[in-house]
Amino acid sequence: MATLATPVRRPLPLIRHSAALAVRSLIKTWRTPEALIDVTAQPALFLLIFVYIFGGAVSGSTHDYLQFLLPGILGQTIAFGAIAIGVNMNTDITKGVFDRFRAFPIPRLAPLLGAVLGDIVRYVVVTVSTLGMGYILGFRLQGGVFAALAGCALAVLFALCLSWLSVAVGMSVRTTGAVQGILFLLMMPLAFASNVFVDPATLPSWMQGFVKVNPLTHLVGAVRGLFLGTPVGDHVWWTLAWSLAFVVVFMPLALRIYRRKV
């Protein structure tokens, strides 16, 4: 045989191997575009339903409500969209290919990190499709190009960090059905006890305490400010802090559970 297939030690193994495995996720997404339905059709449908059914009641005008709601729908779709990676990882690790990854001289974190990074495409898709549908219905960005891009970037970053919560659940639960159920229960209060759909001032006071610390409130507050050109307050900082917290807590946890499954 002609090729000399000699392994050479190269620098930064975690980054290189994670990137290679992220490409694997991208190929899989490319081959099964229907797996993107939760981040394309779903936000569009939610926009239509909420704007035209509740818009009049909540804001007095569907157009005003659309301006208010779109950043919220983006945040809500990100929260529910994060469920998919936990479910996928749960099925993935029971398949043979993960045995091969485990028998390779690569960092243990690489298959997990690769999967999370490969999900960037999902979150870019959700941002673009939500904004696209919003534009068709009459939504307009008012904070300028850079603020809008910053808002999109913040949303994608938050989504990637939140993925680690999903991966950790995906690693620790036995069946995919359970992963889905648990994550849905976790995401539900995040999405609804927040500023996603209504002004939190209208909520009962006992709930407001939760709304104030809810990470989704901060994400949506930040994105809303950046998209509409209104003050963002400390929402951006809180969003970054929560993102960091998700990674710091759930990445090592997911890795620990994954290692123990070996």
Binding site: M1, A2, T3, L4, A5, T6, P7, V8, R9, R10, P13, R16, H17, A20, L21, V23, R24, I27, K28, R31, T32, T94, K95, G96, V97, F98, D99, R100, F101, R102, A103, F104, P105, I106, A110, V262
Partner: protein, 333 residues
């Protein structure tokens, strides 16, 4: 440096209340093939998973290529190739994409990974199917891709866990040729199998395990001697000579046993060693009895297996196990 590529001492592993391994010792010299033989649930897969760093043993020590599997799993992973009972490839990727991805993960670099993929696809006759997703492959094609995947970095030590289970006989022979060529290239192979003929065809030495314990270790011929001596079979040219030939054979047989006519015109006696055959030939010639057939047989490995484990070898034609179930479950069930 030792001349053993694989060495294990007292490996112990339990899954809950099930003791999968109860102190297994293994020793495989470099450049040889060890056949790990045993019935379903004997602990074969568990042993392979420990040696390939996928499982931590509860007790005992194991070294592969001189590296401790618990203390330096990364060094072990650099020199091994593993083919499990079920295909460890990504079903959504094409055969080529799988091999390139694995090549990159094994640090070959992108260009070399591509070239190696082409080479392996050719070797395993998968070039035509190279750009189809693996989920469209037949079972045999998946097995071949899986084996190709474990040979990407030219591993020093190759673990093959029931590599031909579920393959049709023709494909099995092809797989055997691959194993032989690996050994010619200097690799050490540990092969688990339920097929006795496979162990016989490939293995230099055979370790038989049952209920998580080694119950025999020897060369294939050595194992056959465990069951007892050899059988000498003679077919005299003329049927009339049968009684006289029987007398002569009885004289060289173990304990003077009487010769049996096992098939029409064929006499058989148990004998103790190769010398019995020479003696028999000389005496038959002296007596002027021409023979058309004369042969010395060792018992088959099936008989060995039965003697050692007290039950017959697995039916090789049983349906393949569910490929998606984790191996431990298969082992302990």
């Amino acid at each position: 440096m030792t001349d053993l590529a694989i060495e294990a001492e007292g490996l112990v592993k339990s899954f809950g209340a099930t003791k999968a391994l109860r102190g297994v010792d293994l020793a495989v010299p470099r450049g040889t093939v060890l056949g790990l033989l045993g019935p379903n649930g004997a602990g074969k897969t568990t042993a392979v998973r420990i040696l390939s760093t996928l499982l931590r043993p509860d007790g005992g020590r194991a070294r592969v290529g001189g590296h401790d599997v618990v203390r330096h799993p990364d060094r072990v992973r650099r020199i091994i190739g593993l083919t499990g009972q079920y295909a460890s490839v990504d079903e959504d990727l094409t055969g080529r994409q799988n091999l390139i991805l694995f090549g990159i993960l094994l640090d070959l670099g992108r260009a070399a990974a591509r070239a190696r993929a082409v080479e392996l696809l050719q070797w395993f006759e998968l070039t035509e199917a190279a750009d189809r997703p693996v989920k469209t492959y037949s079972g045999g094609m998946r097995r071949r891709l899986d084996l190709a995947a474990s040979l990407i970095a030219r591993p020093e030590v190759v673990f093959l866990d029931e590599p031909t289970t579920g393959l049709d006989p023709g494909k099995r022979e092809a797989m055997w040729d691959v194993v032989r060529s690996l050994v010619l290239d200097g690799a050490t192979v540990l092969l688990t199998t339920q097929y006795l003929e496979e162990a016989e065809a490939l293995a230099d030495e055979i370790t038989v395990i049952d209920h998580g314990q080694v119950i025999a270790h020897d060369t294939p011929d050595g194992l056959k001697r465990i069951v007892g001596g050899q059988t000498l079979e003679v077919r005299p040219s003329r049927m009339d000579d049968l009684p006289r030939a029987a007398e002569i054979l009885s004289a060289v047989a173990t304990g003077g046993a009487k010769a049996d006519e096992i098939r029409t015109g064929v006499l058989a006696v148990p004998v103790d060693g190769d010398a019995a055959m020479t003696t028999a030939v000389a005496r038959l010639a002296e007596a002027g009895i021409p023979v058309t057939e004369l042969s010395l047989h060792l018992p088959s490995l099936d008989e060995v297996f039965f003697t050692l484990t007290g039950r017959p070898a697995e039916n090789p034609n049983r349906p393949a196990e569910n490929p998606n179930r984790p191996a431990e479950t298969l082992e302990v069930s």
